[in-house]
Structure formats: C-alpha cells, structure tokens
Assembly symmetry: C2
Homo-oligomer: 200 residues x 2
DNA sequence: GTCTATATTCCGATAGAC
DNA sequence: GTCTATCGGAATATAGAC
C-alpha cells in the first residue's frame, strides 16, 4: 500500500486525528492502524507533538496547487470567482481529513500553528479572492471582509451540513457539493452584481 | 462565587472543554479548577460522559431566548434579519465558551448530540431565518440553503477570525463584532435586494 | 527498521472515613 | 457533601535485542 512505514504512519495519524482530535488518539491507536508496534513510531518521530506537526504538514502542503492551474484558464473575473467557489466546496466536501483538520486548527491551533496554516492553506486563495472582490465591491465596502465572507460562507455551509438532516426542511440534496456550489455562486452573483469600480 | 458546587463544576468543565476539548481535559483538571478533589466530581456526576452532557446542556439551553424578545419588537422583515445578524455575531463573538463548544459539537458530535444541538440551539433561529429568507429569495432559489448561508457566513467570519491577523491586509478592525455585523448586513442587503415574491 | 519489555506518569473511577 | 487513599488500566516514552 505504502512505500515506506513513515508515510503510512503519517497518513494513519492524519486520519485518526481528523476523526477524533489529537488528544483522543493515542500512539497505540496509530500504531495499531498501521500494523506496527508503538515503539516503532518513536523511531520515526521524536514524540506525539512531532507526529501531529508532520501529519498537518502532509495534509496541508500543496493543497492550493490545483487552484493555481484552475484559475490560469478562466480569464473573466466572474468565472474565476465561480471556479474558486466550485474548487473550495468540492475540496472541503471531498477531502474530509483536510476539512476536519482545518477546522480543528482554526479552533485549537496555537499562534505558531495558525500562522503555518495561514501560509500553507489560506494565503494564496485569500489573496486571490480578495483581488477578485476588490474590483467589484461598492465604495465604502471592505474587500478584506468580502473575501473572508466568501470563504466563510463555504466553510459555514460545509460545517452546518452536520445538522442539515435535523433542521426542518433539510434533505440530502442540501449536502450535495454541486447543489451548494450553485447556491453560493447564485448568491454571490446577486451580492456583486452592482457596477464594478472598474467600469466606473 | 457559586451557590452550589455542582454548578461550579459544570461551569469549570464547560470552560475547560471549550478551550481544550473533551478528551484533553481530565476530571482532575476540572476538580483543580473548582478547588475540590476529583472524588467529589463522582458524587455529583456518574462519570465524565455525564459531566460533558450536563456542561453542554448548561451552555446551550435557553441560548435563543433573548432572540425571541428581540424579534418581537422589530416588525419589518429587513430589520428582523439585520437584528438577527447583529444578535448572532455578538453571541458568537462574546460568548467564546458557547461558540467553541458549538464548533466542537458540529465537528465531533455523534448523532444523538447533533440532534440535541439542533433542537436546543439551531431550530428556532433557523426556522426564523428561513421564513425571513423565503419571502425574499428569487424564483428557483432554495430558502433552506439561503438560511444556512446566512448563519454560515457569520459562523465562518467568526472562525476565520483566528487567522485574520496572519492574512495580508488583516487588522484588528476585522475582528470587531460591530464591523463584521455591518459588513454582513450590507452584503445580505445586496444579496436580497431584488423584488420580493411578496411584491410580485 | 522493527521488535519485546518496561519505566513512569496520568487517567477514570471506587471504597470508606468524616 | 467532601475528603484521603487507592485500584486497575492506559498513556507517553525509553532501553536494548534482533
């Protein structure tokens, strides 16, 4: 399955950490999932903290690479924003390990880990969305907050998906990434349909 | 400080659980924070699971009570929606224990706890927001998803606040609940400014 | 590089005195 | 209702054989 034990450990740890949280997962749990002894983990990593950092790095690094290529194709700003929403919704909906570790870090990460998270995951997409928003927000509006809202509404949709089936009127359609994507794109189109600063 | 030890234990537990997560907090930690012995906790609660459930109930119950009164004053649908956004932003920004436990439950809660969370926290506000949205969304749009997006964008804004200072252009202004409230209200106004179904 | 075996600390939980 | 004392087990981590 894996070329080396070290990678297998990291991927097993990432999966368990995303499901249960760091402190709920023991080194024994990770070792059992890989099929090695707990002592083996301490040959590859100094301790649990290092394993957590390596697992985060493995899951977060290069996550935005596919975004770069995607946005070099579409030229129109509207199309780029819609392509971004599609990309983000599907990323969060389909890579649950990434999504859950992301939320855990936003909630629990210390200053150092949050800065690492910002650089490796958020900085590129955020800068991009902010530049797309800045040409379209109305005077007096904050393009920084607009970018946070665009990313935030997708994040919120995915997180609230956990209780959709318990809310009145909720059905499985509301968990479909394509349905969510279309909804968010339509909402943003309304939100940004005023004359852009560029046209003024 | 507290009338009874039981309440003190519950509040100390809620605070620690929200900061560190359930499994990272031991019964000893809670006991030390209260100033009693660990054995005392087992006189008031059957075990850690019961303490977790009681802490959640203490933090989540009656959280939406203030919303009811608030919305009986304002009559206009626009004003009600804006009052809701103001209420939710300030609730999530100012009651960090509530906010963090909420996110933890959305991420980690089992089916039973998620249903409990839905009923005690989300059902009333969600139904309300959905009814406000349903009169204003355009034909073909889903008022359920619109309500999820309205709640979701606020939740996303608050969660992404953890990394705002690490993002290019971020400053403390973007963490101010009043600034976030104004931004979200302005964005929703754009989003919903098309002719309502009512007017058609 | 992986194992067996173990040291040490901490955990949840209980018994019983006061 | 709160305490002291403690049990059995599980946690992180290490030592050393293979």
């Amino acid at each position: 399955m894996h070329h080396d034990t070290r990678t297998a450990i990291i991927e097993a740890a990432a999966s368990l950490f995303s499901d249960l949280g760091y402190s709920a997962v023991s080194m024994r749990d990770v070792a059992n999932k890989v099929g090695v002894t707990p002592a083996n983990l301490y040959h590859h990593f100094k301790g649990k903290d290092e394993l957590i950092r390596e697992a985060l790095a493995h899951v977060f690094t290069h996550k935005t690479a596919s975004l770069e290529a995607l946005l070099n194709v579409n030229q129109d700003a509207d199309e780029k924003l819609e392509a971004f929403v599609h990309w983000l919704v599907h990323l969060l909906a389909e890579d649950k390990i990434f999504c859950r570790l992301l939320v855990r870090e936003l909630t629990d990460g210390d200053a150092g880990r949050l800065e690492y998270l910002s650089k490796t995951v958020f900085e590129r997409p955020f800068t991009l969305v902010r530049s797309l928003a800045s040409t379209r927000v109305r005077d007096g509006e904050d393009d920084f907050l607009a970018a946070v809202s665009i990313i935030g509404v997708v994040l919120g949709q995915v997180q609230l998906g956990a209780i959709v089936r318990h809310l009145p009127g909720g059905c499985s359609d509301h968990l479909d990434p394509d349905v969510i994507t279309r909804h968010v794109i339509a909402a943003l189109r309304e939100c940004f349909k005023t004359t852009s600063i560029k046209d003024a």
